[in-house]
């Protein structure tokens, strides 16, 4: 009696399982189509499905009432929590500029510190709206990691820092030595590339975040530490004795750093990109947060008027208010102001402008025309 009951029940379960599986596959298609808002039909061809969502990010950000920006919290001058608990640095100021462009309020931004390892996942999953965390522009990140780099905000190169009394003057002197590096970075890959092409045998000591990397270096776990030169300069300021460390005169790679957004929302990409260009254009035209009001009232040059929203509808084309450019410069400043605030001569993290000057001054900064 009991046996037959069991068999019957087993059969029942089995049939239900089959039914459930069949059901799942038919209902399974549904959630994909019932997403939100306007969806462009997706061609289901190839391994990578083209994502949809033009305009979704801006809508989400506006509905939420603030921008969530993934930043660094450990690199002074770029993204750092200062003694008062405020975020500072040029990457952080970029987030403020973006918030100013969207809301007309530079404080409507929530900074979310992300590690090098988790940053792309955070961006992909929508946990952050934009990643502004001294992230190097590279092909893999632009494609496979599902992101788009908007513009370069800082042209950097990878460097190597050693203790001044170590007698190490070149990469060749590091043969047989140990190098501290942070995981999940292009730095880690460049180091392996450069050392193998020079035929230098070394041991890597790889850490999860900048703090532990430099803590290990400070304890002399390694003979040298490598990261972007800007990162070396800024981290040197927080070592016990900054003068006891020198940065070798070698550049191991190109490191264009800039904000990154998710694939699939071109409107958001445009906004993020033109926020950078607006800051650079501001410097080109000599508009600063101090003089922007007077420039605005007396402007005659058409391009300046378009940037400040006096002529045309540039802001509306981006899906923003027409005074977006004015807000960026008024509330945050032009590129030069932002740079000097974090990396200028008056700061402990002083880095000469170098490549990060306007093209008119021998640098690489160049904003496309606002028209």
């Amino acid at each position: 009696m009991r046996k037959t009951l069991w068999i019957v029940s087993l059969l029942l379960v089995a049939s239900f399982v089959l039914a459930a599986c069949g059901g799942a596959s038919t209902t399974g298609g549904e959630p994909v189509t019932v997403v939100e808002t306007v969806i462009v039909e997706v061609p289901a061809e190839g391994a990578v499905v083209a994502p949809s969502g033009y305009g979704v990010t801006l809508e989400t950000v506006k509905a939420r009432g603030n921008l969530i920006c993934g930043v660094n919290s450990q690199v002074p001058g770029f993204g750092y929590i200062d003694a008062d608990g405020n975020f500072s640095g040029i990457d952080v100021d970029y987030c403020r500029a973006l918030a100013a462009a969207i809301f007309g309020d530079a404080n409507k931004v929530e900074f979310r510190p992300v590690t090098a390892a988790e940053r792309f996942t955070a961006l992909q999953s929508g946990e952050i709206d934009v990643l502004s965390r001294n992230t190097t522009w590279s092909l893999v990140r632009d494609t496979e990691l599902g992101g788009n780099f908007t513009a370069t905000t800082f042209y950097d190169g990878q460097g190597m820092m050693v203790p001044a009394d170590s007698g190490i003057n070149s990469l060749q002197d590091l043969a047989g030595g140990t190098v501290c590096v942070q995981t999940g970075t292009t730095t880690e890959l460049n180091l392996a590339d450069v050392m193998s092409s020079l035929g230098i045998a070394y041991t890597p000591a790889v850490y999860e975040d900048a703090d532990s990397t430099f803590a290990a270096y400070a304890e002399e776990r390694c003979d040298a530490v490598t990261t972007d030169k800007s990162g070396l300069v800024s981290r040197r300021t927080v070592l016990a004795d900054p003068s006891a460390h020198v940065i070798l005169d070698v550049t191991m790679s190109k490191e264009p750093l800039g904000p990154m957004v998710r694939h699939g929302d071109d409107q958001w990409f445009d906004i993020a990109q033109w926020t950078v260009f607006a800051m650079i254009a501001g410097e080109e035209f000599g508009i600063t947060s101090a003089n922007v009001d007077s420039v605005r009232s007396s402007a005659t040059a058409p391009e300046v008027m378009r940037l400040l929203g006096l002529e045309g509808d540039m802001g509306l084309k981006l899906g923003l208010n027409n005074d977006w450019g004015y807000n960026i410069i008024k509330l945050v400043g032009n590129y030069e102001e932002v740079y000097n605030r974090s990396l200028g001569p008056d700061t402990p993290t002083y880095i000469p402008r170098g490549y990060n000057s306007l093209y008119t001054e021998g640098g690489l900064l160049y904003a496309p025309p606002v028209r």
């Binding site: 009696m1 009991r2 009951l5 069991w6 029940s9 029942l12 379960v13 239900f16 399982v17 459930a20 599986c21 799942a24 399974g28 959630p31 994909v32 997403v35 997706v42 391994a47 990578v48 499905v49 083209a50 994502p51 390892a117 792309f120 996942t121 992909q124 999953s125 893999v140 496979e144 990691l145 599902g146 043969a175 047989g176 030595g177 140990t178 995981t183 999940g184 970075t185 880690e188 890959l189 180091l191 392996a192 590339d193 050392m195 193998s196 070394y202 041991t203 890597p204 000591a205 790889v206 999860e208 532990s212 803590a215 290990a216 304890e219 002399e220 776990r221 998710r262 694939h263 699939g264």
Partner: protein
């Protein structure tokens, strides 16, 4: 039979407890499957929206990064899969060293905790209470930053007798370098092992037949050692030459250098887990009734014999299940390696995930791997537990 048929006729099926029971289970399983498929569909839809497709093909790609500690040949041109294997082996080596060492320490601690000597007893109790109430992560970071990185710099290395070098780049110990005759020596060792096993069974059958207790363990070990030693000397060339570490250039070379990361991770894990194992051992020993000890003392066995022959075999039955979970804890806790920069499974998977952007795949792989580790460990421990169970008649 007739009665139940009558009952069946009188009780409607929605009040029949047996049917309701089964129906409840069926409904539960369907619910479970439904939720599972919902979660899976949700994940798939979310990934599709972000243009991410799931595939393990990326594992064939070139990793591009270097790894400090590798048990297999590896370079920056190796595949992600090879990097994953290296992480796996590193986790395994930490786990094996950890499980063995923490068992030894744990047993010593457990016995010391029950010692009649006031000093030993109190010291063990203090140690157990201190360590068990620390956070493992804090403990590991203490060992790394506070102990192993605070050792002298390479140029000022402290050298212990026996060519043991203590530096903040690692602990250098002499290590055997295989020579040409090493292959033959290995064969000899295998022969020795087979002989030893033979001796073991011979003695066991002898003891069963006669009821006497020969020194089985001693003779088994002696057989192996004698074969090994004889083999070592009859070979024309010594199978291993001892290579002591030396300071050369920026680092130590030669010998075996145990990195500070490895040392910090294993010592942290071992000291931490052994404290818990100590408590497990103590509870096991206390579970053996006092009469057993008194009886064995009355028979004239000394303290050590009582422990080895009477107390431990009985205590083991109580010890094994919680001991298994301590082993599992140790294996899983080894993923904290990432805090001290030791390239274990989780750490390397993290690096792979970063460089390839394949978070879902890597996390699934890591979870499955840890699950496998744990399941294999508990299958083995359960088998052992059954083997030593009290045979009841």
């Amino acid at each position: 039979m007739q009665e139940s048929a009558k009952q069946k006729a009188t009780i409607p099926f929605w009040r029949d407890e047996r049917i309701l029971n089964i129906l409840g289970q069926v409904v539960f399983i369907i619910g479970l499957l439904f939720i599972g498929s919902l979660i899976y569909q949700n994940m798939k839809a979310g990934l599709a929206r972000q243009g991410i497709s799931l595939s393990l093909n990326f594992l064939k790609g070139i990793s591009g990064f270097d790894i400090a500690e590798t048990l297999l040949p590896y370079s920056r041109t190796s595949s992600y899969w090879r990097a994953f294997q290296i992480g796996l082996l590193n986790t395994l080596s930490v786990s094996i060293v950890g499980v063995i060492a923490s068992t030894v320490f744990g047993v010593i601690l457990g016995v010391a905790r029950l010692s009649t000597s006031f000093l030993i007893n109190r010291l063990a109790a203090f140690y157990l209470e201190l360590i068990r109430n620390l956070s493992l992560l804090v403990f590991l970071i203490f060992w790394y930053l506070g102990v192993f990185l605070k050792l002298p710099r390479v140029k000022e290395a402290v050298i212990w007798p026996g060519s043991i070098f203590l530096t903040n780049r690692g602990v250098g110990i002499p290590w055997g370098l295989p020579t040409d005759s090493y292959q033959t020596f290995r064969l000899i060792l295998i022969v020795g092992l087979i002989l030893a096993v033979g001796v073991f069974f011979l003695f066991q059958s002898y003891s069963k037949r006669t009821g006497r207790a020969p020194l089985t363990t001693l003779w088994t070990l002696l057989t192996f050692v004698i074969v090994g030693v004889v083999g070592w000397f009859i070979l024309p060339e010594k199978p291993l030459t001892f290579d002591a570490p030396v300071i050369e250039g920026l680092n130590m070379t030669g010998g075996k250098v145990l990195s500070p990361e490895f040392m910090a991770l294993t010592s942290g894990l071992v000291l931490y887990t052994s404290a818990f194992i100590g408590e497990v051992v103590r509870s096991g020993i206390l579970s053996v009734s006092k009469g057993q000890v008194e009886a064995s003392r009355a028979l004239g066995l000394n303290g050590f014999q009582t422990l080895r022959l009477i107390v431990f075999p009985q205590a083991l039955r109580v010890i094994i299940p919680p001991l298994t979970s301590q082993y599992l804890n140790l294996i899983k806790n080894s993923s904290l390696a990432i805090a001290v920069g030791y390239p274990d499974l989780f750490y390397i998977s993290n690096a792979i995930q970063n460089q390839s952007g394949r978070a879902v795949e890597m996390f699934s792989l890591v979870m499955i791997t840890y699950l496998m580790f744990s399941l294999i460990t508990s299958v083995f421990m359960n088998w052992y537990n059954r083997r030593i169970k009290l045979v009841e008649r």
